[in-house]
C-alpha cells in the first residue's frame, strides 16, 4: 500500500514544456540519422547505372567506372594530406602560442582573428588562390625545380601559371587552419596546471614543460582536430575547382601543369553540362567521396579510442 502511494507521489508531473523539449530533442536527434540515411540511399540508387556503364560513356582511354574514379580518389586524398602536413604543425604552433606564450590580451585577439578566418567563404579563398597566391609562388616553384628537380616530387617542367596541386594544398591548409587551431587551443588550455607546475618545478624549461606535459595530454585532441580538418579538406570544392589545373591521372609531381584533381572539384566542374549516364557517373563519384570520408572518420575514431588512456586528468 505504502509503496504504491510512494510510487504515485514520486512520479514527477509532466509539464507541457518538458514534453515539448524532449520530443524536440528526440526528433532532432533522429532527423540527422534520417538525413544521413536518405543521402546514402539517394547516392546508392543514382550510382547503380554508373557501375555498369558501357565504355562509350567515358571519354578518352577510361574503360569503366573504377578506372575513372581511381585517380580522383588519389587526388582527393593527396591534396588533403598535403594540406594537413602543412596545416597541423602551424596550427599546433599557433595554439601553443595562444595558450602558453602570448600575453592574455594578445592571445584573446589572436583567437578571434583565427576564428574569423573560418568564416571566409571558400570562393574567396579560391579567388585569392588564382589571382594572388598562384602568381606569387610561381618564381619560388621555378627555383625549387632548378635546385631540387632531381627529387621526383619536384620534377619539372614547372607550370606557367602556378595553379598546381601544391598551391591548392596551401589554400586548403589556410582553410583548415582555423578549425585545427581552435580545437588544439581549447585542448592545451585544459592541461592540468599541476602537471605543468610539476614539470617546471623539476627544472624543465618552458619547451620541455610543453613537450612533457602539454603535448602528451593534448595528443588525442590534436588527432581529432586534424581529422576534422582533413574532413573539410577532402570535401572542399570551390577553392580546388577554381585554383587547380586538373587532369585525370595519378601524378605525384607537385609543380607541373598536370595535377590529379579531386572528386568534389570534378563534380563541380562537370555537373552543369552532364547529361544521361554522365550524371550517374558523377553521382557515383560522390558516393565514393562519401565512403572515403566515412572511412577517414572511422580511422580517426579508432585512433582516438586507442589512446583514451592518455586523455583526461589521469
Amino acid at each position: 500500500m505504502t509503496t504504491t502511494v510512494a510510487a504515485t507521489t514520486i512520479k514527477a508531473r509532466q509539464r507541457p514544456g518538458d514534453r515539448v523539449f524532449s520530443t524536440a530533442s528526440v526528433v532532432s536527434g533522429s532527423l540527422i540519422l534520417a538525413v544521413l540515411a536518405a543521402v546514402a540511399v539517394f547516392l546508392l540508387v543514382e550510382s547503380l547505372p554508373a557501375f555498369v556503364a558501357p565504355d562509350e560513356a567515358f571519354s578518352g582511354e577510361t574503360r569503366n567506372f573504377w578506372e575513372y574514379v581511381g585517380p580522383l580518389v588519389f587526388g582527393t586524398v593527396w591534396a588533403a594530406v598535403l594540406a594537413l602536413l602543412m596545416a597541423v604543425p602551424i596550427a599546433i604552433g599557433i595554439a601553443l602560442f595562444i595558450s602558453h606564450f602570448a600575453p592574455r590580451k594578445l592571445a584573446q585577439g589572436l583567437g578571434y582573428l583565427i576564428d574569423l578566418l573560418a568564416a571566409v567563404p571558400s570562393v574567396v579563398f579560391g579567388l585569392w588562390g588564382i589571382t594572388v597566391l598562384a602568381p606569387m609562388v610561381r618564381p619560388f616553384y621555378v627555383t625549387l625545380v632548378e635546385w631540387f628537380g632531381w627529387i621526383p616530387l619536384f620534377e619539372g617542367p614547372v607550370s606557367g601559371t602556378g595553379r598546381t596541386i601544391l598551391t591548392v594544398a596551401v589554400v586548403l591548409a589556410v582553410m583548415i587552419l582555423p578549425i585545427i587551431t581552435a580545437i588544439c587551443r581549447e585542448i592545451f588550455l585544459q592541461t592540468p596546471l599541476l602537471h605543468e607546475e610539476a614539470a617546471l618545478a623539476l627544472g624543465a624549461t618552458r619547451w620541455e614543460m610543453i613537450s612533457m606535459a602539454v603535448l602528451p595530454f593534448g595528443r588525442p585532441g590534436i588527432i581529432s582536430a586534424s581529422m576534422l580538418g582533413l574532413g573539410r579538406a577532402l570535401g572542399e570544392t570551390m577553392a580546388v575547382a577554381m585554383v587547380l589545373s586538373p587532369s585525370a591521372e595519378v601524378i605525384f609531381q607537385l609543380l607541373t601543369s598536370e595535377n590529379p584533381t579531386t572528386i568534389a572539384a570534378n563534380i563541380a566542374l562537370n555537373f552543369p553540362e552532364a547529361h544521361g549516364v554522365g550524371v550517374n557517373i558523377l553521382l557515383a563519384t560522390g558516393l565514393i567521396l562519401f565512403v572515403v570520408t566515412l572511412v577517414v572518420n572511422m580511422i580517426a575514431r579508432a585512433i582516438i579510442n586507442s589512446r583514451k588512456a592518455f586523455s583526461g586528468a589521469n
Binding site: 588564382i130 598562384a134 617542367p157 614547372v158 601559371t161 577554381m242 552543369p272 553540362e273 547529361h275
Partner: protein
C-alpha cells in the same frame, strides 16, 4: 508598444510582398508601355541548351519580354547535349545547341513536334574564338594552324621554337616554356577549336573534334578561368570566346597567305561563306563551317550555335511563341542586342534572311 512595432513591420512586409509579386518572374524592364497589346502573344516558353548562348539569351529574353509583356521565357543554360535531349523528349520548346542534330537524332521522334514532323537547325549565334596569349615583350603574334596545333598538342614547347620564329621574324620571343591553357570542362568552345585544328592541321593535331580537350597540359574551368589563368600566368597561351578576351593580346591566324586577326565581321563572313551540310532537308540550315578558307576576309576559328525548332508544333500556341521569339533572335535588332551584351558577331544579312524564311514556315 511591442505590438505597435510588430504591426508596423508586418505592414511594411505586407506592402512589400504585394509590390514585389506584381512583377513578372524575369521581366527585364518594367517601364515598357506602348503597343504591347498589338503582339497579342501570351504564354510561357521553356527552353534550354548551350551555355555559350546564355548571355545572349538573357539579352534576347529581356528584349522580347519588354515588347511582349504577357510572355515569359525561361532559358536554362544546361549545356548543348542536355538541351537537345530535353527538346527531343518534349521537355522544352526549343533547344540551343553548339552542334546541329546528328542523323540518329533526326531519325528519331520529337515529342514536342506534330506527329511525323521533324526539327530543323537554325544558326542564331556566331562567336569568334580568340587565341589569347600573355608573353612579356610580345604584343603581336602570327600563327598558322599547324603551329597552333603543335603548341596545344605539346610538341612545340618553347616560345623561341623555329616554327614560331619563322612566322614572327620581327618579334622578340623569349626562350621560355609555353604554358598552353585549355578548358577543363566539356565545352562547345573546345569542340570548335579542336574541329578547326583537326581540319586545318590534321597531321600536327592527329585527333578528332571533341568537346573534351584530348591532350594534357594546363587546364582551367569556364571561359573566365582560362582568361584569368592566361592573364595571371607567365608565357601562357589559351583560347576563349572573343568577347571575354578583354585586354589580352590575341594572335592572328594564317588564312591563305595573310594573317587575320579576329573581328566580328570576319567571323560572320566565314559563316556566310560556309555551305550547308549536305544530305539534309532544304530548310535545315546546319552549316559545314569552312575551316580551310583561304579568303583573308574570313576568320575560320568561330563557334556557331543553333536554335533547334520543330517544323510544326503539336501545340500551335507554343509554335507561335517559338516562331516569334526565334524570329526576334535572328532579326537585326536581336543580333544587335546580343552583339552589345554578349559580344557575338551578328549574322550576315543573307543568313538572317534564310533563317527568317525557314521560320515563316514554322507552325
Amino acid at each position: 508598444m511591442n505590438f505597435k512595432r510588430f504591426g508596423r513591420t508586418a505592414a511594411i512586409a505586407f506592402v512589400a510582398v504585394i509590390a514585389l509579386s506584381s512583377c513578372a518572374a524575369n521581366e527585364g524592364d518594367t517601364a515598357s508601355t506602348g503597343d504591347n497589346a498589338a503582339s497579342g502573344l501570351t504564354g510561357t516558353l521553356n527552353a534550354g541548351g548551350a551555355s555559350s548562348q546564355g548571355a545572349a539569351q538573357e539579352a534576347w529574353v529581356a528584349g522580347f519580354q519588354t515588347a511582349n509583356p504577357d510572355v515569359t521565357i525561361n532559358y536554362d543554360p544546361s549545356g548543348s547535349g542536355a538541351g537537345r535531349e530535353a527538346f527531343i523528349a518534349g521537355g522544352s520548346a526549343f533547344a540551343g545547341s553548339d552542334s546541329y542534330l546528328d542523323e540518329d537524332e533526326l531519325a528519331g521522334v520529337f515529342a514536342a513536334c506534330a506527329p511525323d514532323t521533324k526539327a530543323v537547325d537554325l544558326p542564331v549565334y556566331i562567336s569568334p574564338i580568340a587565341v589569347i596569349f600573355n608573353v612579356e615583350g610580345v604584343d603581336e603574334l602570327n600563327l598558322d594552324a599547324d603551329t597552333l596545333a603543335k603548341i596545344f598538342a605539346g610538341t612545340i614547347t618553347q616560345w623561341d621554337d623555329a616554327a614560331i620564329v619563322a612566322l614572327n621574324p620581327d618579334a622578340t620571343l623569349p626562350s621560355a616554356l609555353i604554358t598552353a591553357v585549355h578548358r577543363s570542362d566539356d565545352s562547345g568552345t573546345t569542340e570548335n577549336f579542336t574541329d578547326y585544328l583537326a581540319k586545318a592541321a590534321p597531321e600536327a593535331w592527329g585527333e578528332e573534334a571533341s568537346d573534351t580537350f584530348p591532350f594534357g597540359g594546363e587546364a582551367a574551368p569556364q571561359t573566365s578561368g582560362v582568361v584569368s589563368a592566361v592573364t595571371n600566368g607567365v608565357n601562357t597561351i589559351g583560347y576563349a570566346d572573343a568577347s571575354a578576351a578583354g585586354s589580352l593580346n590575341t594572335a592572328a591566324l594564317k588564312v591563305g597567305d595573310e594573317f587575320v586577326a579576329y573581328t566580328p565581321e570576319a567571323a560572320a563572313e566565314v559563316v556566310a561563306g560556309s555551305p550547308l551540310v549536305e544530305g539534309r532537308e532544304a530548310d535545315d540550315l546546319a552549316l559545314d563551317l569552312n575551316r580551310l578558307t583561304t579568303n583573308p576576309e574570313e576568320y575560320p576559328l568561330v563557334l556557331v550555335s543553333y536554335a533547334i525548332v520543330c517544323n510544326e508544333y503539336a501545340d500551335a500556341e507554343q509554335g507561335a511563341l517559338v516562331k516569334a521569339y526565334v524570329e526576334y533572335m535572328a532579326s537585326e535588332a536581336g543580333q544587335a542586342v546580343a552583339a552589345e551584351s554578349a559580344g557575338i558577331a551578328p549574322l550576315s544579312a543573307e543568313l538572317s534572311e534564310n533563317v527568317a524564311s525557314v521560320l515563316a514556315t514554322v507552325k
